[in-house]
Each structure stands twice: as C-alpha cells, then as structure tokens.
Amino acid sequence: MPESEALHASHVLEYPYSRSVGPVIGAFLTGLRDGKLLGVRGTGGSVIVPPTEYDPATGEDTGELVEVGPGGVVESWAWVPNPLPKHPLARPFAWALIRLDGADTAMLHVVDAGGPDQVATGDRVTVRFRPAGERIGAMADIEAFVPEGGAS
C-alpha cells in the first residue's frame, strides 16, 4: 500500500441511554413481559393502546388498565422487502397499525406474513410473544403479529 493512501476504518458511536418509563407505560411493559397486552381507559371510556398517562384528545388523566387483544385488525400497513440490520425481523415483513380487540386506537407493530400478497387492510391478526424466559419488558417482547389462523 503506498504511503500516501488514506486509512479507512469503521467507527461505532453508541449512547447507552436508559429511560424511566413511568407508571402507565411501565405497566404496559410489565404486561408484555407477562405475555399480556394492556390498554388504558380514557375520557368517555375509550381504550388507548399503548396506554398513555393522559388522554391525547382531552388531556384528562386516564383511568384503569384493561387487557386487550390478543387478536386485532390491520388498519394500514407497509411492506418492507429488504429489512435493515436494525429492523425487528431479518426476513421481509410488514409494518402495520393494528387495532387490538377491545381497543379504540391502533398500535404500530410488525406483521410476519410471508409476502405482501398475504396481508391486507382489515385482516385479522394475533400476537406472537417471545418465549417467557426471553421477555424483558420491551416492545420487542412481541416478536410479531401473525395472520389469525394463518400458516405463518
């Protein structure tokens, strides 16, 4: 290599942030670790998932936690044909807004559906959790949603 040639190297910069989650998101994440999906009751009895401390429409405090799912409906979706290293699945998948049974809002997560011709708005999907021993209280405790009664 000639002396004049410039060197080259990969360099990783990582900030190991840790957030405190508060009582409501904390309860939701604890629920995920326990294999349960939790929402919270907002103004007028609507159920917000993931739960928030305040109703986003009225700003009022939210109330009791309620269990939702495990099934739900795909409200909209986008196919990811070439997943990136940071994506939750290494194979092609759909990002989807999923309204869980018993919820009035939709939650963003992954649908593991095999191909873009196997996911559609209005489809029924159901949650697939990671095994109990691998769950840590994070969104990734949900491995993916899968078509209800489907082959995936």
């Binding site: 410039a6 060197l7 190297a9 900030y15 840790s18 994440l29 021993g133």
Partner: protein, 170 residues
C-alpha cells in the same frame, strides 16, 4: 414455571434501554494517515509548514495560519513536556482507566503544538507543568495505526523544562 423467576420477583418494569447507535465509515485523510502509520512503526510523525516553519502533530495536511499545504514530514522524538494537565477523579460510563488518573497536554520536542496523552508512573499529586515525559509504547507486535499504540507517557527523569520553553504553547 418452577425454577423460573416469577413476575412478582422481578417487580414492575421501571426503565427501558434505548441505545442510540451510529455506524460510521471513517477516513482520517492522507495527512493524518501518515501520523497513524507512524504510530504503527512506534514513532510520532509531524509535518512542517513551508512558510512559518511550525511543526504540527498530528498534521491536518495544511497550516492553519498560512493556509498552505504541509508537505515535509518530520520524525519527532519520543520525549516531550507536559504543558497543562487535569487529574480525573470523576467516574463515568465507559471509563477504561482506574481513577484518579492524569490527562495532560504533551508538547513533543521539535513540535509546535501539543496533544493529549495519559500520564502514568507518577503520583497524581506530583504532576506539574514542565514535567519531562517519554512515550511508552505497546509491544512491537501490538502496534497498530492508532493512538492505542501509545500506552501512556511517563516521567523520563530529566529536570523540569523551563517555563520559557513552553509558555507559547499554553
């Protein structure tokens, strides 16, 4: 579930790890690559400005005062002078050296700019401006084109440098 930790034992989730990771492909450029290749050979290589004659280490490839390319490589010695220093007593995430330790600006003999180095083999209450130090390198087979090739600087036993010799480099 026997043998597994129960949810009661774990307690509620209160924190969430949210690391932010940035993957860079870095090139130091031609001038700094020379400096780094010098480190791989166990020596400090600077460059001299053809106009003002100042020697920069590591060189950025041009003189910031005169705005001209620095083309002449200068092999610098292993010995320099502590111009300023800081004793680090505060622990922080990712710290790789036991506290307290000394971080200092070292002005290598023949150079016109200091750079930061770790000072070891001296009690932290004996560090001082003007201390003469020498670089301690890693074993020859461990040399890489990186500042990690310099383990640290240590006192070389010479009398302290006269303030006049480094007062323009503070």
């Amino acid at each position: 579930m026997s043998g597994q930790t129960t949810a009661e034992e774990l307690g509620p989730v209160t924190t969430l790890a949210t690391p932010i990771r940035l993957d860079f492909e870095f090139t130091p450029g031609v001038a700094q690559s020379r400096f780094l290749r010098g480190l791989e050979k166990g020596k400090f290589v600077g460059q001299r400005c053809p106009t003002c004659g100042k020697v920069y280490v590591p060189s950025r490839g041009s003189c910031p005062t005169d705005g001209v390319p620095t083309t002449e490589d200068v092999d610098l010695g292993n010995v320099g002078t502590v111009t300023t220093y800081c004793v680090v007593n505060v622990p922080f995430a990712g710290q790789s050296i036991e506290i307290p330790y000394i971080c200092a600006q070292v002005l290598l003999d023949g150079a016109d700019i200091s750079f930061m180095g770790l000072i070891q083999e001296i009690p932290t209450d004996e560090i001082r401006m003007g201390l003469r130090v020498e670089a301690v390198w890693v074993e020859p087979e461990e040399l890489t084109p990186s500042l990690a090739s310099v383990r640290y600087f240590r006192p070389n036993g010479e009398p302290d440098a006269d303030y006049e010799t480094y007062k323009d480099y503070l």
